[in-house]
Each structure stands twice: as structure tokens, then as C-alpha cells.
């Protein structure tokens, strides 16, 4: 069930731009949904897509890195 609540920071920037499409802020719905599921703040993800756009792989990379860090942690 979709959450009606306001979303994290990265997302609001995407939806307040009148065209909804400012290259920097824009993420696809799939990336947004994945980030929410994995509890990742998109403003802290480095995008590797066109114009620095965050792609699904970028979020997956953060998930992996986090897992690796968790595994290393004493």
C-alpha cells in the first residue's frame, strides 16, 4: 500500500520543480521506491546516470556497501 506521507528530502525536490524534471533532482519511481524500502536517503547517494542522475544501480551499490560495513563491524 503506497504511503501517502511526505517523502524524504530528495524526493520533495523532484516533485516541487514545476516540470518535475530538473535533471539533478529527478529519480525514477523505481529508484524512489527502492530507496524507501532500503531506507536510504537519496540526497546522500552519488548518481552515475546522465547529468548525475541517481540510477537503481547507485542505490543497490549503497545497499551493498552498507551490508559490507555491517559485516565488518566488530
Amino acid at each position: 500500500k503506497p504511503a501517502p506521507q511526505p517523502e524524504p528530502a530528495a524526493e520533495t525536490s523532484a516533485s516541487t520543480s514545476p516540470s518535475g524534471s530538473g535533471a539533478e533532482g529527478y529519480v525514477t519511481p523505481l529508484v524512489r521506491r527502492l530507496a524507501r524500502k532500503e531506507e536510504i536517503d537519496l540526497s546522500e547517494v552519488t548518481g552515475t546516470g546522465v547529468g548525475g542522475r541517481i540510477r537503481k544501480q547507485d542505490v543497490l551499490d549503497v545497499v551493498e556497501a552498507r551490508k559490507a560495513r555491517a559485516a565488518e563491524a566488530p
Binding site: 500500500k1 503506497p2 504511503a3 506521507q5 523532484a14 516533485s15 516540470s19 518535475g20 519511481p29 523505481l30
Partner: protein
């Protein structure tokens, strides 16, 4: 070490070879499990033999009949001379036979062991078929549904959808009891063939589960097509007359016609199959499961029409696949009924996924949602096809689109984009920024999203 001994004990045993059952079987073998599938009648179940497939063949013929009648307007000189019921049944039977052969071959190729016969659950890990016991680590119940008759005396003239598909003639007139999906589809097809149709629906409207805007448009279109309907009053009696049938309503009104189709819903097939004896909970015959389709007994799951909720073939697939993934340990994601796509193949067609406006208002609050209706009159391709209709989108303010609904000729195929929008929780601007291909009906989806975003292009 032949197949035989192995075949008596499976990793997964599925009871019922309809949409839900065979999907569970096919996905389970993909995960390397040995699978048995018990079917008492024909592989493919209701959907293939007496449901989705034959009805849609009949509805395609209906579309051809409508088009033939109207085509002079489009500069195509044709004359419509009527329905050749024998040829129509041949065509329908050919499609069903082809799919049945394909499915049988597929199950064989994928090495699902099909056991013919009626199965009964005799222990949490065993099913008896004609005296032979088949054991399995996991059991999936998928015995499906059958038309409810509410005690009406079925006959040559009082029939369910199953018999309606075998009629050898186009009835002169018909009363359709029930204005839900199945009733509306038959009413639509018969009207196209030339039958004088009256729908009796006890609830206040046809297709009562749809969004109000869709209902209004369907009722308007049916009226225009000469399909009569009486809504808001339940029937009390159906009886045969000398040359037909008579239906009496609670308010005393009566209707007469050549035949009466009883399409008042479908009930689960679970009686006498040993489910309750093994401790499984039934509610009015339906199998009660947890959210993950587990019955609470041993490793027994239930899928498809026997589980309360939407009775749709692809919900059956979805649940069958879900359980196979669950058994394989892949913790699949639960897809709620609200996010399952729905299509009604009447003329006009209806498609919907997600929340209707009233349901969204209830769930998110009336002041938290916004809706847009895009009239197909503004859509080039729809004008070319000569269809009225609309696309309606329901969104959460500042949030995702949570419902997409549509009505119009051929609009059912828009369900694909609608499904992605709702299930992927797209915002209006996500869709609005993608300009849709011209001139398609699909453009109407883009226009609706643009309007919801506050920037209609052509609207």
C-alpha cells in the same frame, strides 16, 4: 529407478489444475522441486475451458458483429447477416483446444507429474486419488470455484455461464441475473449478436466494484446500445413459463425472456474434500489463510478462487507463483488485491487498478486526494475508433497515483501502463513528463497524468 516410485512422493503436490494450481506447479519445478498435480477434469480449469478464454472469443465475435453493422460509416461496405453459432462455437472450441494442448505439453515438458482423478486431503501431507495416496512435503490447494445458483432450478432455460457457452443458437431475448463482470460481459456479447437483453442487479448499479465515473459511463453506453437493466432491487424468484422464463423482483416487478443466465457470483469448490477434517478453516466454503496464503495446517497453502478476494485468473497465477516462491524460500512480496489489474471485456471495456475515488477517500481522507478525468472525446485514436469513454486517475495530493480507471472500446489494453503506475507508486509528474505516442489511445493516459499534474496538453 523409473519415474513411478518417485511420482508417489513429491516435494510439492497441487490439488487442482486451474490457473492458480498450474502456476504453482510450473514455478515450483523451476526451483528444482518435484511436483505432482491432481486434476479431476481438464487441465486449465475454469479459465481455459468455461471462463476467460471462451468468453473472450465470444466477445471478439461480438466486436466483429458490431463493426460489421457500423462499417458503412467508415466507408467500408459490408452487410451483417447474423451469427453462425456453429461456426462461432467451432472457433471458440479451436482456441480452447489449442491452449489446452499447449498447456498439457508445457506441464509435460517441465516434468510436472499430472495425476488424473478427484483428490481428497487425507492427512496434512497426503492426498488420496481413487484409492492411491500421494505424499508431499508441501500441499497447495487450488480447487477453484463454480457458479453459484442460489438454489435456482437450472434447466434448459435457466443456465449458468458454463451452459451459456454451449448454446446452439442466439437467444431472442435473455435476462441476465447479476450485473457484475460475468453478467455484463454476456449481456454485451448477446446484445451484439442481436439478443434483447435485460440485466437484473440487486445492488444500486452495474459493475458495483468500479469507480462511480466508470459505472456511469458503462450504464450510459449500455443504454445507448439498447441493453436494459434494472438495478437496486434483488430478485425473489425465477421460474419457467410455457415459452421462456419469468423473473420476479422483491418489489413485485416481473421480467420475461427466452432464457435466464444466472451470474450472481461464484462459490468455492471445497466441500467433501477433507479440508476441514485436517483442521483447515473454512468460511462459507472459502479457505481462510494468513497473508502469505498459508492455511495454518502443516505446510498446506491455498491459492486462487478458493481464497476470499478477487476471482481472477491472473490473481490465481500471482498466488500460485507466490506460494511456489514461498516454498522455495524466496520470501516473495505480497501483492494485495487492490493492486491487481482488472479488466471487464464488455463493449465498452473497463480497466482498473488501485483505489477507486470513494475507496481512496476512505483510506487517505477526502481532502488528501485529487482526481482527474480525461474524456476520450479529446483522444484522436478514440475518435477514429468511434468510442466514447474516459481515463480517470486518483492521486494522493503531493504523492503517488493510487488508482487508474478507464472505459472505452479496446481500453483494456491500457491496463499495462496503469498497473506499472500504481504498483511502482509513480507520481503524476513521472508520467506527465513522458509524452505518449501519437495517435494512440495510450495518449489518453499521458493526458490524464498531465492534467493531474496541473499541466494538461490538449485538455
Amino acid at each position: 529407478m523409473a519415474d513411478q516410485p518417485q511420482a508417489q512422493e513429491f516435494d510439492v503436490l497441487v490439488l487442482g489444475g486451474g490457473s492458480a494450481g498450474y502456476a504453482a506447479a510450473l514455478r515450483s519445478v523451476q526451483h528444482g522441486l518435484s511436483v505432482g498435480l491432481v486434476e479431476k477434469s481438464k487441465l486449465g480449469g475454469t479459465c481455459l475451458h468455461t471462463g476467460c478464454i471462451p468468453t473472450k472469443a465470444y466477445l471478439h465475435a461480438a466486436e466483429l458483429a458490431d463493426e460489421a453493422r457500423e462499417s458503412e460509416k467508415y466507408g467500408v461496405k459490408t452487410s451483417f447477416e447474423g451469427i453462425d453459432m456453429a461456426a462461432l462455437r467451432n472457433y471458440k472450441d479451436g482456441i480452447v483446444a489449442g491452449k489446452h494442448k499447449g498447456l498439457t505439453g508445457l506441464l509435460k515438458m517441465r516434468k510436472v507429474t499430472v495425476v488424473e482423478g478427484e483428490g481428497t486431503l487425507v492427512s496434512p501431507t497426503e492426498v488420496d486419488v481413487g484409492g492411491t495416496r500421494y505424499a508431499a512435503r508441501h500441499i497447495v490447494l487450488a480447487t477453484g470455484s463454480t457458479a453459484k445458483t442460489m438454489g435456482l432450478p437450472l434447466s434448459e432455460k435457466i443456465i449458468t455461464s458454463t451452459e451459456a457457452l454451449e448454446l446452439d443458437r442466439v437467444p431472442q431475448s435473455a435476462i441476465v441475473l447479476g450485473g457484475g463482470v460475468i453478467g455484463s460481459e454476456f449481456a454485451s456479447a448477446w446484445a451484439s449478436y442481436g439478443t434483447d437483453v435485460t440485466i437484473i442487479e440487486g445492488l444500486p448499479s452495474l459493475v458495483p466494484n468500479e469507480d462511480p465515473a466508470i459505472i456511469k459511463q458503462l450504464e450510459r453506453s449500455f443504454k445507448k446500445r439498447g441493453i436494459s437493466f434494472n438495478t437496486g432491487t434483488f430478485f425473489t424468484d425465477v421460474s419457467e413459463t410455457a415459452d421462456g422464463v419469468k423473473v420476479t423482483l422483491e418489489d413485485g416487478k416481473t421480467f420475461e425472456a427466452e432464457i435466464c443466465l444466472v451470474a450472481v457470483g461464484r462459490g468455492p469448490v471445497t466441500e467433501g474434500l477433507g479440508f476441514e477434517e485436517q483442521g483447515i478453516t473454512l468460511d462459507r466454503g472459502f479457505v481462510i489463510t494468513d497473508e502469505r496464503l498459508h492455511t495454518g495446517v502443516g505446510s498446506i497453502y491455498a491459492v486462487g478462487d478458493i481464497v476470499p478476494g478477487l476471482q481472477l485468473a491472473h490473481r490465481g497465477y500471482q498466488q500460485g507463483i507466490f506460494v511456489a516462491e514461498e516454498i522455495a524460500g524466496n520470501s516473495p512480496m505480497v501483492v494485495e488485491d487492490i493492486n491487481i489489474p482488472k479488466v471487464t471485456f464488455s463493449q465498452p471495456e473497463i480497466m482498473s487498478v488501485g483505489y477507486t475515488q470513494p475507496k481512496a477517500e476512505e483510506e487517505f481522507g477526502t481532502d488528501q486526494i485529487e482526481v482527474t478525468e480525461y474524456n476520450l472525446a479529446g483522444n484522436g485514436k478514440s475518435s477514429i475508433l468511434g468510442t466514447a469513454g474516459l481515463i480517470k486517475m486518483v492521486g494522493v495530493k503531493g504523492g503517488p497515483i493510487v488508482g487508474v480507471h478507464g472505459i472505452g472500446s479496446r481500453i483494456g489494453e491500457q491496463i499495462g501502463e496503469a498497473q506499472l503506475i500504481v504498483n511502482w507508486e509513480a507520481y503524476p509528474e513521472d508520467v506527465a513528463t513522458l509524452v505518449h505516442a501519437h495517435p494512440t489511445q495510450n495518449e489518453a493516459m499521458g493526458e490524464a497524468a498531465m492534467a493531474l499534474f496541473g499541466h494538461p496538453l490538449h485538455g
